[in-house]
């Protein structure tokens, strides 16, 4: 039986999740690292709005019933593989309604 220990880091971050339906595709097909995803705005009533590519998405802030922990495997040496919990996620922004396309108006 293999055993791995999981323990929190001294400093436990509080992270968040932005949940989008489907897959994100990079515009220039150059992978995701370093690329802008989109702009996150909040309406005055606290509703999150994202502008991604040519779409506007309206979402909700949701407190997670079951929070997530974010863990990373660390290997001290051959034997001591363990996982460090870097952060806990208790809230997410979920965008599940149909994105509205942005139609660019050409100035006349």
């Amino acid at each position: 039986m293999v055993q791995f220990k999981i323990i929190r880091c001294d400093v436990l971050g509080e992270w968040a999740i932005v949940e989008l339906q489907g897959e994100l595709k990079s515009r220039y097909n150059n992978g995701i690292n370093g690329n802008l995803i989109g702009d996150l705005h909040f309406s005055k009533t606290g509703e999150p709005i994202m502008i991604i590519g040519h779409h506007v998405l309206y979402g909700q802030v949701k407190k997670l019933e079951k929070p997530f922990a974010v863990m990373k495997k660390t290997k001290k040496d051959e034997e001591n593989t363990k996982f460090d919990i870097q952060a806990i996620i208790k809230t997410k922004l979920i965008f599940s309604s149909r994105p509205k396309p942005i139609i660019l108006q050409v100035p006349t």
Binding site: M1, V2, Q3, F4, K5, I6, I7, R8, L12, G13, W15, A16, I17, V18, E19, L20, Q21, G22, E23, L24, I32, N33, G34, N35, L36, I37, G38, D39, L40, H41, F42, S43, K44, T45, G46, P48, I49, I51, V56, V61, K66, P67, F68, A69, V70, M71, K72, K73, F83, I85, Q86, I88, I89, T91, K92, L93, I102, I103, L104, Q105
Partner: protein, 389 residues
């Protein structure tokens, strides 16, 4: 071009006036580094509390490729769950409108900050609390049942197991293993956990009870130190730790005061008698059981729950040994054995044989609904096998 102009123009294109949103806006960009090796694990309240308190969780991976996660006292099944959604992890963000401010009316310039998206995930580990599989535990601690100090030479080559050994082999939490050891009646002898051979238990119990009787002591009010002394003075040795163990199994102890618990003692006698033959005439059994026990104890059928099968439909009624402790942990297999032993069971009859399969808060009725078929017989609800053959 000022990047803020980009944000502004995107806002304008989306027909969102600057003063209709809060500030600052947050521009989300993926980290330049690849952080794909991060793993998301979904927690429940217990595991979250444990993590936040700095307690260690342990993942135990078995040969059959399944894994469990253990806190100090609970075990969870671990499963990778995929989602068709994209989960973007932000390590720094502001999601609370109360921490954002408004723009003055007619504002024209956007304020924005950059936010880091650490990585994107489309799967996570899901936890489900389970009753751990401790069946191997029973096997291991019963490999070399203790028969007393004089029989130990028989075991000179035997493999014995310490708690640490067991923790390495059983996919369960520390506390659940300790609790199971107690339920198995295993004894801690010289650093190892072992069951006691039942004949040896009978021998020791008889010695102890004989002493209690000859000293005219009361089973429910004993002095532990005196007891151990008298038991060993009589020439028949029952080691201190064995007396201690037997008092813990069949009674209770606080400091020097200890006592036997009548129901447990009564069950011990029943168990002892049931070992001696395959089946008995029920009424004869009740008589013999009553007369074997110290005076003041009665032969109460209620105390046989989980120990024996009583068939009152037979002529004459019979009773035979059927121990809950010897049944398999696998639910399907257990029900197979139960329905083979008896076709129809009432809730009262079957409960002692299913109790250990329930998680705290789970009801036996939910297991029955899933694995058995219910019907009415003579006005009473009974459970039988779902299988027709």
């Amino acid at each position: 071009m000022d990047p803020m102009d980009d944000v502004k123009s995107r806002l304008t294109a989306a027909k969102l006036p600057v003063d209709s949103i809060l500030r600052p806006s947050q521009l989300i960009r993926f980290d330049t580094e690849n952080n794909d090796e991060l793993i998301l694990i979904q927690l429940d309240k217990t595991t979250l509390d444990a993590v936040e308190a700095g307690q260690e969780l342990i993942i135990r991976g078995m040969e059959n490729d399944t894994s469990v996660l253990c806190t100090a006292d609970e075990t969870y099944d671990l499963k990778e769950t995929k989602t068709s959604n994209s989960l973007i992890l932000l390590n720094d963000s502001q999601l609370d409108k109360d921490n954002l401010s408004t723009y003055p009316a007619g504002a024209d310039r956007v304020e924005a900050v950059g936010r880091n998206a650490v990585c994107l995930k489309s799967s996570y580990l899901e936890l489900k609390r389970i009753v751990p599989d401790t069946s191997r535990l029973r096997e291991l601690v019963s490999q070399s049942p203790y028969k007393g100090p004089t029989s130990e030479e028989d075991y000179s080559d035997a493999k014995l197991y310490s708690l640490l050994d067991l923790l390495d082999m059983i996919p369960a939490s520390h506390q659940e293993i300790v609790t199971s050891l107690k339920e198995l009646g295993a004894c801690f002898i010289d650093g190892y956990w072992r069951t006691l051979d039942f004949e040896y238990v009978v021998e020791c119990m008889c010695i102890i009870l004989r002493v209690v009787d000859s000293e005219s002591w009361s089973c429910d009010d004993l002095n532990f130190v005196d007891l151990v002394q008298k038991v060993n003075d009589s020439g028949e040795l029952v080691p201190f730790n064995i007396v201690d163990h037997l008092i813990a199994v069949y009674g209770t102890r606080e400091g020097d005061r200890c006592s036997f618990i009548m129901t447990k003692l009564s069950r011990f006698f029943a168990e002892m008698l049931l070992q001696s033959a395959d089946s008995f005439d029920f009424n004869e059994f009740i008589e013999v059981w009553g007369s074997t026990m110290p005076s003041g104890m009665s032969a109460d059928e209620e105390n046989l729950a989980g120990l024996a099968l009583i068939d009152k439909t037979a002529k004459p009624p019979t009773i035979k040994r059927f121990s809950a402790k010897e049944l398999p942990q696998d639910t399907e297999k257990r029900f197979h054995i139960l329905f083979n032993a008896r076709e129809k069971w009432t809730m009262k009859e079957i409960s002692p044989y299913l109790e250990d399969l329930c998680l705290q808060g789970q009801k036996i009725s939910s297991i029955l609904t899933r694995y058995a078929r219910s019907s009415l017989t003579g006005g009473e609800k009974v459970y039988s096998s779902r299988k027709t053959s």
